[in-house]
Symmetry: C2
Subunit: 192 residues, 2 copies
């Protein structure tokens, strides 16, 4: 077993046989990204489902003025791709980028079809994994509705205290939907 983190990710949601996992493993495509390297840029079609075996990534979209809007930040043990682009075969609207040196394990269409055909339990795995992302995103909407900029910041540092050490603050600011200047001022208020 070469990738225990991925195996564990499956086991967290489904009862997967070792055999099924071991039949999948040789089909995985590995990819390493340097810090700041892109996995995809908007307009490209993503051909894989990327699992972060090690590292830190984020995606962002550009608005019509070219402004950057970070929507998701993910690290070791999570998936970060664009399931719309992958499943529809359409160009992605996201830029997806590593912000720390990253190793990905990627599943392409053939492998996805193989997995779900031979072991239908994988279909359930993806249903649950996507469901989890969906619930997270709904919480993100609720936070944007119900929390002030300062409260969103505090919620983030509460849940991910080390994140501010791992990626530039202006990306955190974008993720929180505030300006870097405001983030700086908020942080000033919270250290004494």
């Amino acid at each position: 077993m070469k990738y225990p983190i991925l195996y564990q990710a499956f086991k967290n949601y489904i009862n997967l046989s070792t055999e099924a996992y071991l039949n999948l493993e040789p089909k995985l495509v590995t990819k390493t990204l340097d810090k700041n390297e892109y996995l995809i840029r908007d307009g490209q079609v993503i051909r894989h489902l990327p699992f972060i075996n090690e590292g830190l990534m984020a995606n962002y979209r550009l608005d019509e003025n070219g402004g950057v809007h970070v929507l998701q930040i993910r690290w070791t043990g999570w998936w970060l791709g664009d399931i719309y682009s992958f499943f529809a075969g359409k160009p992605s609207s996201f830029n997806i980028r590593a912000y720390q040196p990253t190793e990905l394990l990627m599943i392409n269409h053939d492998t996805f079809d193989f997995m779900t055909r031979e072991y239908p339990i994988f279909e359930r795995y993806y249903r649950i994994a996507i469901q989890k992302s969906y619930i997270n995103t709904l919480n993100q909407v609720f936070n944007l509705h119900s929390l002030s900029a300062e409260e969103r910041y505090l919620e983030l540092v509460q849940n991910y205290p080390t994140l501010l050490d791992d990626i530039p603050h202006y990306l955190i600011a974008s993720y929180l939907n505030i300006r870097p200047q405001s983030l700086s001022r908020i942080r000033k208020n919270h250290k004494k």
Copy 2:
């Protein structure tokens, strides 16, 4: 075939046999809701996956001050429940309410298990349906990040021109994350 809208919803995403559908149909639980009636209130566990066969519903969450935050508005042909509560068996944090007379077709746990066991293609259907909701919700986050109150309003009326006639404006305002007063002022600017 009693519920062609539901049948079509399945067919939109998967290649479903008529037989599979017809075996499901008698197991559906129907429920009608009057205008303004609740399907569930927060704190309750939802025991079904509710499909809107006819009508209009929305969900909302309360913040710590009791403020209402509408997160989703759905009508005929869509699902609106709480998959977290349903699958985890935990109390929901949502209030889900009909805003027009509504007829629901509901799938309970036994039926869900039956469907996915006898016809594994249903597992794929739910993966795709949840994926769709997830993508919508990501777009919602992006809109909150990148659009002004006025732009969010315009985007909504563009996509759903009749919505303002179907539910109170203060719910639309909540969904857009603006105050009813602001919605009123925005609307004033856009009629002449």
